[in-house]
């Protein structure tokens, strides 16, 4: 009888790739935050399944090409998400029942903490700052999960 089967995890060797993507993404995100989420880098035409209309853009709708859009924000967000998923869901050097329990507990805590932050935000944060918090909220479950799992693992 094997001690623990965790067949949804990637092999341990991919973890380093995850850390590189995650760290680069977080650094890029922090720089981006200081520039109010605007950038002139990596401008190109992108395809949108749906593009919303606003005062700057009258040509919204389905299946549009958006011209001259900086893709730095897309790359940053995807880098954090892919990096975080890889770091969080690759095997440790030794996988066993205790590590499995730490990972599951950390996932549960990440969801609870994320929604506590969100509840607090809904009640106490208004206007544009609310949407800024939602941007961070896209990443907090993964980041909290990774932080708590590794913290408990290294403390043990």
């Amino acid at each position: 009888m094997s001690i623990m089967k965790t067949n949804y995890l990637l092999p341990h060797r991919y973890k380093i790739i995850g850390w590189v993507l995650l760290i680069l993404g977080v650094i890029s995100g922090l720089v981006f935050f200081n520039q109010d989420f605007e950038s002139d880098m990596l401008k190109m035409d992108v395809f949108a399944i749906y593009n919303g209309e606003d005062i700057f853009n009258k040509d919204g709708g389905f299946f549009k090409i958006i011209e001259n859009n900086s893709i730095l924000d897309e790359i940053t967000a995807l880098s954090i998400i892919f990096g975080g998923l890889i770091v969080g869901f690759t095997k440790e050097k030794v996988e066993d029942e205790f590590i499995f329990k730490l990972r599951n507990d950390s996932l549960v805590w990440a969801i609870i903490v994320n929604y506590i932050i969100l509840i607090f935000t809904i009640i106490f944060i208004y206007e544009f700052t609310f949407f800024n918090v939602l941007v961070y909220n896209m990443f907090t479950p993964l980041l909290f999960f990774i932080f708590r799992f590794n913290f408990l693992k290294y403390r043990s």
Binding site: M1, I3, E92, K93, V94, E95, D96, E97, F98, I99, K101, K153, S156
Partner: protein, 66 residues
């Protein structure tokens, strides 16, 4: 639940890492079990008892509030 793993480990002159390697778990697991922070599965308890050549009941004992 109490356990005598630390004592048995000292008796057999094994570090946490040695014991972890012998039964195929992480060093963190041994540490957490010794500190009483984690209750091992039956399989893991049996493996430890077999390694120390004793019964599970001699290695692990229930406490009053269990």
């Amino acid at each position: 639940m109490r356990n005598n793993i630390k004592i048995e480990r000292a008796r057999h002159n094994l570090t946490q890492a040695d014991l972890a390697e012998k039964i195929g778990v992480s060093r963190q697991s041994i540490n957490a079990i010794e500190k009483g922070k984690y209750v091992p599965s039956t399989v893991l308890a049996l493996k430890m008892a077999r390694l120390f050549k004793m019964s599970v009941e001699d290695l692990f004992t229930l406490e009053i509030d269990d």
